[in-house]
Symmetry: C2
Subunit: 414 residues, 2 copies
C-alpha cells in the first residue's frame, strides 16, 4: 500500500485524556480513534492488525472443529430472565435500550443465553453432540471505569466459543484441548512468554476456571506466579483453601505480578442448559441437560496487550504475526525509480509492503516508521544506491545493512 | 465441510411469524435465526454467504482506492447536535441508551457524523484530498415496522462508503465511478438483470440521489421503469417537475413495479463538513469546506433479495458468486468409500464442498440439498457407480448426468 493513499496522519503529541500506553501509541500512530472512554474506532492500520489477530484465533477455532456464527447485539429479556441475568443488579454491565412501543431491549454483554436458546432447534439427541460454536462479535458493557485504552472497552470485539457436550468427561477433554489451543494462540501472537495459565474462581460446576494472564506493569489484575513460572493463581482466590491444591510449590513461594487478562475458559456445567431447557435424549432415550463451556478472547484487548509488551520510546514493535505490513519501504527523493521498482517487485511476490512515497522529509519518514512499528524497514536513496543497493533494518535492532536488490528480494519473499 | 459437523438442522415447517419468503427459506434451510422482528443471527451457512457478498463488495471498494475502517456503534451526542440529527424527532430511528452516570448515548443508525469528525484529524490541505473511506459495520435502526425478513432490520450490517473531495467536479467524477462499481457489484451478485439505477430525491446539494432497486413482488418500494428498461424513477419523486427531465421517454410510458432498494448513493455537498467544520486549505491557502458523498449497500438485505429473486418451491438457488459451497456432495449408504475419496479429491483441488455424510435417508438428503440451494449436486451410490461413476445435477436444471471421476474432477476444479 502506498502511504500517500493512507488517510491517517501520525501525531507527535500524546492525547491528553489517555493514561494507557497502548492507547497513546495506537492513537499517535493512527491505528485507532477514540470516540469516548472505552469506545475506539479502528482505522486502516488498526483494522489490519485486528484482522490478523482474528485470523490467528479463527485458525485454531476451526482446528477444534468449531463452527462460526454471528449472533445479534440486540436481546429480548425472555432468555435472560430464565437464567436470572436480566436485572441490572444481577448483570451490572447491561446497556439497555427500548423499542418505540416501550419494550426494553438489552445489548448483549455476552452470549450464553441467546446461543443456548438457539441450540434448542439443533440439538435433540446424543448423536447431535458434541457441538462447538464460535463467533467474533461486538460486545457492549456498561463499565463504570474505562481508562485502560483498548484493554477495557464499553464496546469491543470478542471471540467467544461455546461447547455443548453430553457429559462431564467429554466436556473436560474438550476444555483441555481449548487450553492448549489458547496457549498456541498467545505464542503465535507474540505474548506467549509472558502469558500464564492462571487458576481463577470456578463457579458452581468446577473447582476453577482458567484465565490467560499476560504480565504487564499496566495490568488491572494481580496474579501469583509459581517459582518455576509454570502456572499462576489469580489474587482473587488466593485466600481460598483450594487455590494452591495439587501444585508442587508452597503458596509462600508464589510471586505477585501485575497482569492483563487476555483470555478465559469456563466450565458452565448445566447452569444455562437447565435454565433454558436445552436437553438431549441419551442412548436410553432419557432427556438430559447439555454440559456447556464458554471460552473468550478479546482481539482488541490482545492488540493493546501486544503494544504494552512490545514498544520502546520511539513507538511500537509489532510481532511478525500481527504486523499491519511485513515491510516498511521508505523512498528518499532522488531514488524514486528504484523505490517504485522494488515496491512492485516485493508486492508481486506477495510481500505486504507499506511504501512511504510521501513528499515529506526523510527524518519524518523515519520517525513515523519507528512509531508505526512494522518489523522490517527498507530505505532506498541515492546514497544507498551508490554503496550497493538498499538499507535494511529490523525495528527491534539498531544495526543497518546495505544489500543488493536480489538479496533483498530473496530475504523478504514469502 | 462434512454436513455431520454442521450443527444446523433444516426444518420442514415454515416459521409462523414470517411473512417474507427470504426469511422463511433462510430460516428453514438453517442460514439464519430470528431473535425478534428485524433482528437475525447468522448461522454457519448464512455467515458463509454473507462473507461472500462482503468479499464481492470489498473488492470493488478497494478498486476505488477506498480505505477500510471500523467505526463504533456507540455515539456521543456532540457531533449529532451540530448537524441537528440527535433529537428523536429529527432522526426517527435512534436507539438510545445511557451510561451509569446518566449520560445519554446513541447507537449509530449511520456514520456521517463520527467519520466527518474523525477526518478533521487527517485532512488539512488540498494535498490530503480526495479521501475515500468505507466499512462493513452493524447499524441499529429503531424501525416501527420490521416484517420483511432480513430486508428491513433493526440491527443489520451495512457497507458504507464516504467520499471527501475538494470540489464538486472531482466529487461528481467519483460519484459516477461508484455508480459503475455498484452496477458491477449487483451483476456479480446475480441480481444485475433485475436491478435498476433509479432517480430519487436529492436533498439540497444535488438534483437527485440514486438508488439501486431490484424488481421483486415482495419489495416495499415502487419504481417507474423506462420502456427500454435503461433507467427508473422512484415513485416518491414522480410528481416533481424534474423527475423525468433529460430522459428520452415520456413520463406516461414508465411502468410501475414493486422493488427492493439494495443500494443508494448520495451527494452530501458541504452539509456535514460545514456543520462539523471539516475544512481544508486550498492552493491559495484559503480554508474551504470538504465536498462529501455517501454510498450504502446492506449485505444482509442483498442476501434476502437474492433469495427472493432465486428460489423455487423446493428452496433456494444460490448464484455461484455467493453460494455457501460450490458443490453439495451426497453419499448414499453402500458408496461410502467412493464418497470419501471424491470429497478428499475435490477439497484438495480447492473446490468448496458440503459433503452430506449423515446417516439419514436419501430422500431427506435430496430435499435438504434442494432447500439449501448449492449450485451443483453430486450423488454417489452403488447404483451410480454401477453405471459409470457420479451423478451430477445443477440446482436450476432437472437434467441429471452420470460422469466418471476424472470428468467430474476436471469439470468442477477451480
Amino acid at each position: 500500500m502506498r502511504q500517500s493513499t493512507l488517510f491517517t496522519k501520525t501525531r507527535k503529541d500524546s492525547p491528553k485524556d489517555e493514561v494507557a500506553k497502548n492507547a497513546d501509541l495506537l492513537i499517535r500512530a493512527g491505528f485507532i480513534h477514540k470516540e469516548m472512554a472505552g469506545v475506539y474506532s479502528y482505522l486502516p492500520l488498526g483494522l489490519r492488525v485486528l484482522n490478523k489477530i482474528i485470523g490467528v484465533i479463527r485458525k485454531e477455532m476451526e482446528a477444534l472443529s468449531a463452527s462460526e456464527v454471528s449472533l445479534t447485539a440486540i436481546q429480548e429479556k425472555a432468555s435472560w430472565e430464565k437464567t436470572d441475568r436480566w436485572a441490572d443488579d444481577k448483570m451490572d454491565v447491561w446497556f439497555k435500550t427500548e423499542l418505540k412501543n416501550g419494550t426494553t431491549l438489552g445489548l448483549a454483554p455476552t452470549h450464553e443465553e441467546p446461543l443456548t436458546a438457539l441450540m434448542k432447534n439443533h440439538i435433540r439427541s446424543y448423536r447431535d453432540l458434541p457441538r462447538y460454536v464460535f463467533q467474533f462479535q461486538t460486545k457492549f458493557r456498561n463499565e463504570t471505569r474505562a481508562k485502560s485504552g483498548i484493554m477495557r472497552g464499553r464496546e469491543f470485539l470478542m471471540k467467544d466459543l461455546y461447547s455443548f457436550s453430553s457429559d462431564t468427561e467429554s466436556h473436560d477433554a474438550f476444555y483441555e484441548k481449548v487450553k492448549a489451543a489458547y496457549l498456541r494462540i498467545f505464542d503465535t501472537l507474540g505474548i506467549g512468554d509472558k502469558t500464564y495459565l492462571t487458576r481463577a474462581s470456578g463457579g458452581s460446576f468446577s473447582q476453577f476456571s482458567h484465565e490467560f494472564q499476560t504480565l504487564s506493569e499496566t495490568g488491572e489484575d494481580t496474579i501469583y506466579v509459581s517459582p518455576d513460572e509454570s502456572t499462576a493463581v489469580n489474587f482473587e482466590i488466593i485466600e481460598s483453601n483450594e487455590a494452591f491444591e495439587g501444585l508442587t510449590a508452597p503458596k509462600e513461594t508464589f510471586v505477585p505480578q501485575k497482569s492483563i487478562e487476555v483470555g478465559n475458559i469456563f466450565s458452565l456445567g448445566t447452569r444455562f442448559s437447565e435454565a433454558l431447557e436445552l436437553t438431549f435424549l441419551d442412548q436410553t432415550g432419557k432427556p438430559k441437560p447439555v454440559v456447556m463451556g464458554s471460552y473468550g478472547i478479546g482481539p482488541g484487548r490482545v492488540m493493546g496487550t501486544i503494544v504494552e509488551a512490545h514498544s520502546d520510546e520511539k513507538g511500537i514493535l509489532w510481532p511478525d504475526s500481527v504486523a499491519p505490513f511485513a515491510v516498511h519501504l521508505i523512498g528518499i527523493t532522488g531514488a524514486e525509480v528504484a523505490a517504485e521498482e522494488i515496491y512492485e517487485a516485493l508486492t508481486a511476490t506477495g510481500v505486504e509492503v507499506l511504501f512511504d512515497d510521501r513528499d515529506v522529509r526523510p527524518g519524518e519518514k523515519f520517525a513515523d516508521a519507528d512509531l508505526i512499528g512494522i518489523p522490517v524497514r527498507v530505505v532506498v536513496s541515492e546514497k544507498t544506491l551508490a554503496v550497493g543497493g538498499f538499507e535494511i533494518k529490523h525495528r527491534k535492532e539498531d544495526k543497518t545493512e546495505i544489500i543488493s536488490k536480489d538479496t533483498l528480494l530473496s530475504r523478504l519473499s514469502v
